[in-house]
Every structure is written in structure tokens, then in C-alpha cells.
Symmetry: C2
Subunit: 385 residues, 2 copies
């Protein structure tokens, strides 16, 4: 993607990059596709600013986001402003203030750049691109399912990208099971660590009477159908069964809408879902290491139930080749034609390169500018090499 | 545009704003329209980062841009990084480095947000949106004309916006005329100030033997045809005549391509065009005070001739009404339908609001969510109020 990485590195801080042709356009096309899908399902675009007062930007956010936030002083007020590392807290702010009186469920979408103080795992990028949706004011399995379904629609960029898979998690589940036994602090810690590491031997060592259930849950991780088959047979405490039933209902709802979507379940996963209160999911795409999107259920500002998703269109760029379908054919228009005369070609989808001087050899010029055609006697002629 | 300005002010620093529905989408549509027009004429998108090292961001820029740049320290290198107040210096950097070997003329486009330390005239906005083009590596009247013509195409957003007018200037012209006389420093200063203020009496007082010519030039300001008629008759020094002839040639070229475009000429204007070396222009739109775009000819990095233009799509938002053509019809899909069943409606351009719970009264729900239609027995029924 970078023509000359050394030159790029010499010019820009680590984690920042210039997107050149055709990548800048490809990125724009991918984002536009996502935004259009969001819009088609009633998610209305909002666009918060790049900077806002630190205390409002970080109001409901964990310490992670604060550490990742560049700050500058507002010379007008002498308050500190933060450069957003994440758009989602801004959407929560808008939903709870400016759009507090809009009918619920409130469907909002957003897309835009964010800046991180240091790179995240899987990527050194410090400027990232987010595109996402939030469904605010409703807590139902169908609402969770809608977020997943719309995600699948937004990621199906004209069959240009590989299919996605979505990994479903219920982060409270492991803890809700463990809390039914009176394990001491140390044993709870060791057991949670064993679950986190998917270490079956350690789970059996520290799991006590729950060892069997937890081992089955570990082993159930994988394709949703098989996972559900294994999890159905478990004898769980009521609270835990409720969480699991919710997960099953969401899977069923998603499959009803989109039977082909690849779903996996990771029933004991909990790490990294600190502020979430229900179903969570990671989005993967073959060819990309790490998540290309993530989301889940949480409580928004004012305690409103919400489910949301953030995609990372910038991570998809390496999957789109130079000669892919976003590229159009280029026509060299020799000097002397007017814009009016070639408007039809523009409407037909050609890119028009207007000649700016009387060329001695227009054909050579057309080749030099990588055109596929040249306009001669008001007709398109292919430019052979 | 702001539902509750007080609440907005309480939440965000002055000059920053949340764009809410439908404005965020309207802005996106306008930018997309512009970018598509740029692309249709071979201007390829580049996307530089929001932040880069201060010394590279401000390398060829005047002091104005430095004063408007927020800075943060890069914790990796301890160098200062600037948050761009303007994209054009970044495009010049890219053209002179990463794209130095791409064929000329190089046609580049860009679109994205910029952040200013304090608001500019005509607007308190500190986050602005730029969309523009640069035509690099050629110095010809046809190149100047192309920038103007493509501007007109980019501003003709589906007949949704009022027509633009473009004011043409040749900032070197006044000075090139005055320098032919040996006015002392004081008189030169007084005369330039008189021209700047369009003060005919003062021009006649300080203009000496040039008073007649300069007065005619002042009076010629206005519609291009009339201005050219008046300016043609002047007896100018060779250098000045050359500048004027260039202006005339550009006007002729623009009119050949687009006879309907409204052009004005301001032959003595020079203020604010400090680094420009040839034809400059301001873009106006009725209903908007101040420029909605500006550009001109200059020397890019490495001394390459270049002509560029920057539009401000964010300034156009107040001209687009809520009920304008970007809005689509909304259909409420009662709970129970699958995405597959309603895919045809999506393809027909409807926005689909999926019911998330079994409604007792789906029609009331459809109304509450501002839908125009409801799907009943697989058919669309209008939702009467």
C-alpha cells in the first residue's frame, strides 16, 4: 500500500500514513457502502466534532480511552480539549442530550477518523477510521440480532470482500456460574485465569463442582450450531441459563434473517468487555488478523439500554486490489473538445482527462496518462500499448 | 441547524458542533457529489493524515497557518505534531515526494476535516470541512480554466444548490502597473491602500500618470464581459498586458466549456493572495455570505507550477432544507418479516425500519417512527396521520 515505506516513514510520525490512489478512493467507497447499508435500515447519520472538552469526551469512558487521548488547551476558555480516540462516547452523549426527545428506539450511525496516542494491538495505526451504528432505548434479542444483521449487510461490499464471521460472547456468563459456588478469592482468580487462557487442565483443577460444566463450555467454543447443541444439555443456575437463553434467541433471530452468516460462539470469553452488560460480538474477515469490528450491549448515558457496533473500514484496504471494480475506464479528451461535448461520456461512467495543450501526438499523451481510450472524431478508440 | 443552541454551547467548545440528522447525511451527500465530480475529471483522491510533524506541515506555509495550528507532542519521538488547519500543504508534500514520479499533469483531489485554533472571518467554526483539487505540473490558461470548470461541475449538486458565481483576480496586476512609475514608498503604500479600498478619489489623488488606467480598472470590476470590454482599451505596460491577456484567455476558455457560468472580474484585487503567482478566484453562492471556495495558481514544492481550489461543503448546509431530495421514504416493517423478504424494498430505495418487538398496534408504531409506509400482507400501505 505504501510505494516507498522509507520515504513515508521519514515524512510522517509512526502510525500515520498518506493514502494514495487508488487506496484513498477505495477506502471512501467502502465507508460509503457501509453508511448506505446503515441508512437503509434507518440508522441516521450524526457527525460529532473531532475535538471536544475533555470532561465530556471522557465522561463515561474507562481509563483506557483517557490514556489514548491527545489533549490541547482551548485558548478561548483555557479548558482542555481531547482529540477523540473513539466516536462511540460522543454518540452516547448526543443520544442523551440533543436527541433525548427523539423517538426510541433511536438508530444512529457515524463514520470518521479517530486519533490514538499509541497504536493498538494488531496494528501500529494511530489514526484509525471508525464506522458504526448504535441502537438506543431498547433491550431485546431482536435488537441485538438487528445490529448483527445490519453488520453483515454493511460488510458485504458488492461481493468484493471475503465473507465475515461473527463471534458471539456473553461476558457475564462465566462469572454468573462461578458465583454460585463459594470459591475463595484466590481460587476464583485462578479459575477465571484458566478460563481466559482456555486451559482445560487448570479449569478441571480449580473448577470444583463446576469443572464439568465449565469444561463443556470451553469445548463448545466454535460454530454456533454445534456450540448450542453442546450448551443446551448443561444444568445451569437460573441466572446463567437466562443469559444463555438470550444468546440462543439472538442466534435464532439472526439465522432467520440471514441463514448464510457464519456465527461462532465463545461462551466463556469475558476479557476486554468491561462495560458491556449483555451479548457482545467480534467481527472477523479472512485475510485480516484480529477484529475488523466489535460491539455489544451496554448501558448508555442516563442508563438507557443500547447495543452498538464499530467497524474499521481502514483495516479492509489490503484486501482490495488495484485492478478491482472501483476502478473505472479513463478516456483522454484531446484539446479542443468542450465539456458539453463529452458530458455523455461522463454520464456513461468514464473518467475524462481533458487535454490542456495542443498535443503533437495525442495518442502518446493518452498512453502516458494511463488512459484506456482516446476520443477521436467524436468516437472512443482503444489505446493499445 | 442546531435544535437547541444553548445545550450545544454548554456541551461543546465554541466553533465545534454536532451535526444531527438530516444535516450529517446532507453534508456527506454534498461532499460525495463533489468528490465524484472531481473523480470524473481524473482528479484522484489522496488522503493525508489529520496530524503530522509540525516542520513538514508548516514547511512551505505562511505564518497564518502556523498560528492556526494546534500542536501536540509525539510521545514516540518527542517531536511536535500539528493538527492540520488546511489540507493543501499536505497535497503539495505528497505531490513532491510520494508522487514525484507520477506523470504530469498530476490531478489530485481531497476531502476531510481541518481544525483551526480560532475561527476565521464570516464564521466562528474551528472545525471546517475542505474538499478540493490540485492540478500540478502545468502552467497554461487551459489548466486554470479546467480548475474553474470542474469547480462549477462540483458545485452543481443535482440542481439542489443555487448557482455559483466565480470572481476572477490577477493579484500581481495592480503592482505590475504601479512599478512602472517611480513612486516613492509612501505614495506606493497610499496608492495600494486606495486600490484595496476601491477608493476612486484616493486613486486619482495618488495615482499620478496612472490615475486614469487605475480608475478604469476599479470601475471595470463586475461581470466578466463588461469588464473585459473596459479593460481591453487600456494602454498597459507589456508585463501587465501579459497578465491581463492571460486572464482574458482563461475567461474565453471557461466560456467555451460552460457558457452559463457566472463570471466576474476584480482586476485590482490583491489582498489575501500572498503566495499566489497568477490567476486567483473566489467562489460565491447566493444565500451564503463570504466565499464558499477559493483557489488559484501558485508554485508548489520543488517549484512546480500548480493551480488548485478548495471548497467548503460545510458552509452549504444551511441552503439544504429538511424536506429536500436527499430524504427517502421510510417503511415500517412489523416484527416477523425477515430481511430476505424485504430486500426488494431496500433495492427500490426505501429506508426499512424493522420492528423489534411484537407490536399491539404496528400502525401507531409506524407513525411514531415517522414512517411514510407500513408493510401489511406483503404490501406497502401509506401511513395516514
Amino acid at each position: 500500500m505504501i510505494d516507498d515505506p522509507e520515504m513515508s516513514n521519514a515524512l510522517l510520525p509512526i502510525g500515520f500514513r498518506d493514502l494514495l490512489p487508488p487506496y484513498a478512493q477505495n477506502e471512501d467507497e467502502i465507508v460509503q457502502w457501509m453508511i448506505d447499508a446503515f441508512s437503509d435500515y434507518g440508522y441516521e447519520r450524526v457527525s460529532p466534532p473531532l475535538l471536544e472538552f475533555e470532561q465530556s469526551l471522557l465522561l463515561h469512558a474507562g481509563s483506557g480511552i483517557a490514556e489514548q487521548t491527545f489533549r490541547v488547551m482551548d485558548p478561548e476558555t483555557h479548558y482542555m480539549m481531547g482529540l477523540r480516540p473513539d466516536i462511540t462516547p460522543q454518540i452516547a452523549r448526543i443520544a442523551a442530550t440533543r436527541l433525548v426527545n427523539s423517538p426510541r428506539p433511536l438508530r444512529l450511525s457515524y463514520a470518521g477518523p479517530c486519533v490514538l496516542v499509541s497504536g493498538a494491538k494488531h496494528s501500529a495505526a494511530r489514526q484509525i477510521l471508525q464506522a458504526g451504528i448504535e441502537l438506543i432505548g431498547i433491550d431485546s434479542p431482536q435488537a441485538d440480532a438487528e445490529i448483527i444483521i445490519v453488520t453483515a449487510e454493511a460488510m458485504g461490499v458488492e461481493d468484493l470482500l471475503p465473507p465475515i464471521s461473527i463471534d458471539l460472547m456473553m461476558p457475564q456468563l462465566a462469572n454468573s456460574i462461578i458465583q454460585t459456588e463459594n470459591f475463595d478469592e484466590q481460587q476464583t482468580k485462578l479459575l477465571m485465569r484458566a478460563l481466559d487462557r482456555k486451559d482445560v487442565a487448570a479449569v478441571q483443577q480449580y473448577g470444583g463442582s463446576l469443572a464439568g460444566i465449565l469444561t463443556t463450555m470451553l469445548q463448545a467454543a466454535g460454530p454456533a450450531d454445534r456450540a448450542i447443541e453442546m450448551l443446551k444439555g448443561l444444568d445451569l443456575p437460573a441466572d446463567s441459563q437466562q443469559l444463555l437463553d438470550r444468546l440462543f434467541t439472538v442466534v435464532q433471530a439472526v439465522k432467520t434473517h440471514n441463514p448464510l452468516l457464519q456465527l461462532t460462539i465463545d461462551p466463556v470469553e469475558f476479557r476486554g468487555w468491561d462495560y458491556h452488560t449483555g451479548l457482545c460480538f467480534s467481527v472477523y474477515m479472512s485475510g485480516i488478523s484480529g477484529e475488523v469490528g466489535r460491539g455489544g450491549r451496554y448501558l448508555s448515558n442516563n442508563g438507557e439500554p443500547a447495543c452498538g457496533l464499530t467497524l474499521r473500514p481502514d483495516l479492509l484496504l489490503p484486501l482490495i486490489n488495484d485492478d478491482d471494480c472501483f476502478q473505472r475506464e479513463r478516456v483522454f479528451i484531446p484539446f479542443g473538445y468542450t465539456i458539453e461535448e463529452v458530458r455523455g461520456l461522463r454520464q456513461d461512467g468514464y473518467i475524462l482527462l481533458m487535454g490542456l495543450t495542443e498535443e503533437e501526438d495525442a495518442l502518446t499523451e493518452a498512453r502516458r496518462l494511463n488512459c484506456n481510450y482516446i476520443l477521436q472524431d467524436k468516437e472512443l478508440k482503444a489505446v493499445a500499448d
